[in-house]
Amino acid sequence: MPKLTIDGKAVEAAKGATLLEAAQQLGVYIPRYCYHPKLSVSGNCRMCLVEVEKTSKLVTACSTEAAEGMSVRTDSEKVKAARRDVLEFLLINHPLDCPICDQAGECGLQDYYMEYSLKKSRFPQGDKVTRQKRRALGPHLVLDNERCVLCTRCVRFCSEVTKTSELEVMERADHSFIDLKEGKSLDNDYSLNIADLCPVGAWTSRDFRFKSRVWFLKKTPTVCLGCATGCLIEAHHNENTVYRLVPRPNAETNTWLCDRGRMTYKAVQAGDRLAKGVIKNGLIDLEPALREAATRIDEQHAAAAVLGSPWLSIEDNAALARLAAEALKTENFCFDFSAEQGIKDGILVNKDPAPNTAGAGLVKAACGGLSLEEFSRRIADKRIKVVITEARAAAFIKDALKASGARLIVFAVNRAEIPPEAYATLPYASYFETPGTFVNYQGLKRRAEPAVEAKEGVKPLWAVVNKLAVYSGTSLRLDSAEDALKGINFR
């Protein structure tokens, strides 16, 4: 455990920690382009130069190990001059096309220039070296070599994290540029992380391209519901539209986010978003749809059943459990979902595509209910004639439904989710519009926070369940998602 001083403040760094990490521990920020905590050290951008006592030259903080008795200065005139000069080098051939660059507003060059340089350019526009401008590489990214500062974060990400090694620095010295290796295409499942990693506007996302300026975006911390991994994410949104999802790096689950997870926001704004109920194939207002569904349930009161869903939050599953226990007064309910869980590709993607299998398990532990086999058997035996469930969970009982022809009433967010067997469909607000608690494969509770507001008339699932119960003659008295948890004893 070496003890050293940084800017006159003493700090005890971990063994093997670099000066940059030791400074971070103290809260001293050292500017950097090529350094990334989850990638190998490259030390090529020279932005993190600091002065160490008794050394002849400035050293790079990201690649120098902290040693006993070091005295480091990050605020001396020498360091400030070095930062100014490094920035001048990096900006020599920069095209200054910020007006058409999506990175503007969160750009390392802009931020550091304002913070550390503010120096007028000594190089006329006409003398700048020009390079290839926009070029679509892969399904998700655009590369602009002119804006690149050759920090090689993208190259290291592809070789170290995804281990697909699509990218390489071509040519040498002043001629260097980032390019695809021959015969490769940039289509790994994590390629959009490169757009986040890139400290400048060289890599930008094709999906987010020109959609919004980043300074308009508001940020809501939430959780990715793409699979059971439950990565922490941040939804960036403005004026009730989600524009992109970015990872919230954390020690427990994720630093990155897969491309499929990043695209999950699209369903919220998709054209097939349900705002009304569907009976068979016809759209119908929510109230008549609820009445129709309630009538069908009442017809078969004793033979109605509720199936929870691993795609729904704990609160909404609990609301379904209470619908079964208090409104339908049936024992035909099931929250028994088992799926093989674990990281599939060694990075983030889980074997279990549902986000809340573990959470549904908690509801099962508290409320009991049938096993999934027993539930299916009862449908097949025609002891269950009406099933209420969430659209994607209906796939678990597909065969039994086909065999018996039981009526299926589902809750769905998008039209594409509705299974063909569904008799009635009721819309509910997605988890970008309403809060919910999810339990990921590690057993960690993750909270989805609403980023945008649901369309008028679209209510959270617990509220739809509440109304459905009222139409069939019982009040569950649910006024919020938390109300659903009342009376359920979680261990």
Partner: protein, 186 residues
């Protein structure tokens, strides 16, 4: 110190105190102006805005209706960078960006609306524009319309060049100039 001026008002005489006579005298003045202007309208000082306008003095500091400048090939100089929308204190600008497939400038405004009923004519958009694409030098004073809709300037109604434009000299945008040059050679 507040200065005080003493006014010696004459006391009103009998006719003035009766009031009616003085009202009649006042109405006569009004009627005289009415008939004079009716039969000899050249002498009136009122301008029938918006049908008539007084020509404005050419003044660099004058801020009038906005326009978007046009490049030599007819495309807008605007690259939809949203600087004007960001700077606008009245939130009257709405832009939707789109991408050129061929033009090296990459970005252009698919929608560019200025809601003049909200605009405060402050000129911040002109100051903020990094491309010198928006200007307030048309010498037209907006307003005087019958519907609110008529105060919404769309991209089509904003795109216009003044005589002598587009001037190729002094254009700073390398990408746009490259593109125009390439098109000229074709």
């Amino acid at each position: 110190m507040i200065s005080v001026k003493k006014v010696n008002n004459k006391p009103l005489n009998l006719l003035e105190r009766i009031y009616l006579w003085e009202i009649g005298r006042g109405l006569l003045v009004t009627m005289r102006h009415f008939f004079v202007n009716l039969f000899n309208p050249k002498g009136t000082v009122t301008v029938q805005y918006p049908e008539q306008m007084i020509p404005l003095a050419g003044n660099a500091r004058l801020r009038t209706r906005h326009r978007l400048k046009v490049r030599a090939d007819g495309s807008p100089k605007c690259v939809a960078c949203f600087m004007c929308q960001t700077a606008c204190p009245a939130y009257c600008i709405r832009i939707e960006a789109a991408e050129y497939p061929d033009n090296g400038v990459e970005k252009y405004p698919a929608v560019f609306d200025i809601d003049l009923s909200r605009c405060v004519m402050c000129g911040m958009c002109v100051e903020a524009c990094p491309e010198d694409a928006i200007a307030m030098d048309t010498a037209e004073i907006p307003g005087g319309v019958e519907t609110r809709q008529a105060l919404l300037l769309t991209k089509e109604s904003l795109l216009r060049n003044l005589p002598g434009e587009p001037s190729v000299t002094g254009a700073a945008n390398r990408l746009a100039n490259d593109y125009l040059r390439a098109r000229g050679e074709e």
